[in-house]
Amino acid sequence: MKLSELLPGQAARVLRVDLPPALQERLRGLNVRPGVRVRALRRAPFGGGLLVEAAGVRLALRDELAAKIEAEGDVCD
């Protein structure tokens, strides 16, 4: 599944990040890298992005980016 398909409260483990190297690097700095468990906290209003928590770091991600992050689903709390 894609990271963008997470509903608030659900968690998933990142498998692959299909983004340009620069963005990949930024996400790596924010703990979004393969093997890390990511939890969706909230969706932004007005069709905005997704708020996720990755190993203690909270970050906002646009849907377009989240849709390019392959994750292994349903690590529910």
């Binding site: 608030p8 690097e25 700095g29 708020l51 190993a55």
Partner: protein
């Protein structure tokens, strides 16, 4: 402290050591810099406050040093523009000690950067900030233990405590002196075959650099003990086939970092998440933000509120002082000097009297910045900004724009790419800066019974114009936008940083009025009081040098009903600083009703709202996107401002005629729009194709992007026992409703 350090250094003839502050954004580098140097670097609780390098002299317990504050960066391989500057500074190697700064709450993440800095082969130290917050969360950090494991000095502190900062000075001094004793053990960067400067360039050179980094690690191993290193080097060698980012010293969180931090660090429990939840809840945070803005405006501008009262008191005080000065000069037998003093004090004093109101606005901005609400706001408003082709990060710049456009233009460096930055700079001109406030108030209070509502309407109109401009510019300056933003920890704003930034901005305002604006006013007075043959004609005479020049300019202002040359001159003076528009008007008119009719006053306000920002903002824009672009932008903004104000004046003066024209023009327009063909899109849905009718497939302002075709079918889902999930791009609302066997609008948060 700072001066003392400098003197000591000069006396001993020592070379000042150079320290670089490196660390992830919002970890407290600027706060540390201010604590060490007594400087005034801007601080705030959001990511990307510092956008340029800033150097200051510091005294490290007797050792004179130069501390360089750099923009935050997550890794030496860079992503955004300001990070690039920091990364280059680190890799150029022109420093004596790299001070890695990490905040105690997210220490594990910072270790990757520490490792990258070590690989550069230069002396380094680690400073862990926010120790008090860690203690409050029940976590702990054994600095000595970590220091022994990392093989570099580690100092944990809270930058707001003097004792901690004093300890840091000693630690840094010892680190500097120790490293200067053993320079041979660590080879300088320039001596190596493959300079790591090219690390940022993927993919081939990055691979070479990662190899070089591996060598560097082995070379540096002689200097200190670092248990996890050999493994990192091996990983770098083994994974050479995979993308560069995955190779080298940057192993996933877990194994290595956990081993390093085991027993010396515990993050503690996050405090009650109530503030977090409230700040990130759109139903609470957005109204809260609107309430804060409105109440600030109300307190500052409504009649009988503190802002207005303080302003009137200050105005009376300054006017009295000016009159006394002028009377003294006239009494001494110099009537011209008396007149000069009177007009100068009148204009400059009028400006200074706006200090309380500007201070109130700045206070609100400082509180927002310190509390961390700003980054929550960036997340919540990203949906809006996305529709006009910007990202949530632009919210920072727009809010800073209420303070000073030039400073806001600098913060746009934090945006993701150049086209995005250009768009943001272009729309910042429409966000009324604090300097436009005196102009608005001066004009508005002469013509409106309720100045508060008029000023709020002006500010709101500016923001709406900014959004409209962004929408337009998305077509003109195409560019991808991406949005990744770390959210700051919300905190109760601390008093000291808030007061500090408030006092600093008040000081800046007074200095600006006292220097730039006063100098300009003196020049103006001279040019206004003498004619071309340098005979004294007196201010307000139509024969003076400037009067003749600006009479030509006044032709441009004639269509907006303000054809007086004094008005044209005032508008022109806005190029120097927006405050001087109000000052110039005050120079000529005691009562502004003599200069404008109500309709032309509104048109003039619209002109001031939309015309190009002052020279310092244009200079800032030129630094960011090139002089030619900046000048072109300023010219375009001014041209549009003229057209808009003509339009407003026309509408106000002959509204009925304009309404008739609109009424005649609208039906054909609507007819033309309706006649356009529908586009038909087919997308696979279940076994049957679904046909959608749309005018155009492109996402627009009012309509989010169309739902993407789903690659997976119901059968597959059933096989995997998966539930149907929210559809991307539709706000996560469209979900499969089992009862109806179709899609249905459901609540955003599902009950379990």
């Amino acid at each position: 402290m700072r001066l003392k350090g400098r003197e000591k250094g000069a006396a001993r003839g020592q070379k000042r050591v150079r320290l670089l502050l490196l660390g992830s954004p919002n970890c407290g580098k600027s706060t540390l810099f201010n604590a060490l140097t007594g400087g005034h670097a801007k601080t705030g609780n959001w990511h990307g406050v510092t956008v340029g390098a800033l150097a200051g002299a510091a005294d490290l317990a007797g050792l004179p040093a130069e501390v360089v504050d750099l923009p935050g960066l997550y890794s030496l391989r860079t992503y955004s523009m300001e990070e690039g500057a920091a990364s280059r500074a680190a890799q150029a190697g022109e420093y004596d000690l790299a001070v890695c700064v990490a905040d105690a709450l997210t220490l594990p993440r910072a270790l990757a950067l520490v490792r990258q800095v070590r690989v550069l082969g230069r002396p380094a130290a680690l400073v862990v900030t926010m120790r008090d917050l860690l203690a409050r969360r029940g976590g702990f950090l054994d600095a000595e233990g970590l220091s022994a494991r990392l093989g570099m000095p580690v100092c944990a502190l809270s930058a707001h405590r003097r004792a901690d900062v004093a300890r840091l000075r000693t630690v840094l001094r010892d680190a500097c002196q120790r490293t200067s004793l053993v320079p041979a053990a660590v080879p300088p960067v320039s001596a190596r075959a493959a300079p790591p400067v090219s690390v940022a360039v993927p993919p081939v050179s990055a691979r070479a650099a990662s190899v070089a980094a591996g060598e560097g690690e082995r070379g540096g191993q002689a200097a200190c003990v670092f248990p996890a290193r050999p493994r990192a080097a091996r990983a770098g060698g083994k994974e050479r086939g995979v993308p560069a980012a995955a190779a080298g010293e940057d192993a996933p969180l877990g194994g290595e970092d956990a081993a390093l931090l085991d027993g010396v660090y515990a993050p503690g429990r996050p405090p009650s998440a109530l503030a977090d939840k409230l700040f990130l809840d759109p139903k609470f945070a957005l109204p809260l933000f609107a309430f804060i803005l409105l109440s600030v405006f109300f307190l500052a501008f409504a009649r009988g509120m503190p802002g207005m009262l303080a302003k009137e008191a200050l105005e009376g005080l300054l006017a009295g002082a000016g009159d006394r000065l002028a009377a003294a000069a006239e009494g001494a037998g110099a009537p011209v000097a008396g007149e000069f003093l009177r007009s100068l004090c009148g204009s400059a004093g009028m400006l200074l009297s706006f200090l309380p109101q500007i201070a109130l606005l700045e206070l609100a901005l400082a509180l927002l910045e310190e509390s961390g609400l700003l980054s929550a706001l960036a997340f919540l408003t990203d949906g809006i900004f996305r529709r006009v082709g910007l990202t949530g990060r632009a919210a920072f710049s727009l809010l800073m724009g209420f303070g000073c456009t030039a400073a806001a233009i600098l913060t746009t460096r934090g945006l993701e790419n150049k086209p995005l930055q250009r768009r943001a700079i272009a729309i910042l001109g429409y966000v009324s800066c604090g300097a436009k406030l005196p102009v608005y108030l001066a004009v508005v209070s002469a013509f409106f019974a309720r100045p508060f509502i008029a000023v709020v309407a002006l500010y709101a109109a500016g923001v709406l114009l900014a959004f409209a401009a962004a929408l337009l510019l998305r077509r003109l300056i195409p560019g991808e936008e991406t949005f990744v933003l770390e959210l700051a920890h919300p905190q109760f704003p601390r008093l000291r940083p808030v007061l500090r930034s408030l006092l600093f901005s008040a000081k800046q305002f007074i200095i600006k009025v006292a220097t730039v604006v006063t100098a300009f006013l003196i020049l103006l007075w001279v040019l206004l009081s003498f004619d071309f043959s340098f005979g004294y004609v007196g201010v307000g005479s139509g024969e003076s040098i400037l009067a003749r020049i600006s009479r030509v300019l006044a032709l441009l202002f004639w269509p907006m009903g303000a054809g007086k040359w004094q008005v044209a001159l005032a508008a022109l003076s806005g190029l120097v600083a927006k405050e001087s528009v109000a000052a110039t008007l005050a120079l000529f008119y005691g009562d502004l009703t003599a200069a404008f009719t109500p309709a032309s006053a509104v048109a003039f306000l619209v002109f001031i709202l939309t015309c190009s920002p002052c020279a310092s903002a244009i200079a800032a824009a030129a630094r960011e996107m090139g002089a030619r672009r900046a000048l072109r932008l300023a010219a375009a903004q001014t041209g549009i401002a003229f057209l808009l104000s003509y339009l407003v004046y026309g509408l106000l003066c002959c509204g009925a005629l304009a309404a008739c024209v609109c009424a005649l023009a609208l039906p054909p327009l609507i007819f033309w729009y309706r006649k356009r063909e529908h586009e038909k899109i087919h997308r696979p849905k279940k076994p049957n194709a679904q046909r959608l009718h749309r005018r155009s497939v492109r996402p627009r302002f009012l309509r989010p992007r169309p739902p993407a075709a789903r690659p997976r079918r119901a059968g597959e889902r059933r096989a995997r026992r998966q539930k149907r999930r929210a559809v991307c791009g539709r706000r996560g609302r469209l979900l499969h409703d089992r009862a109806r066997g179709a899609k249905a609008l459901l609540r955003r948060r599902l009950s379990r």
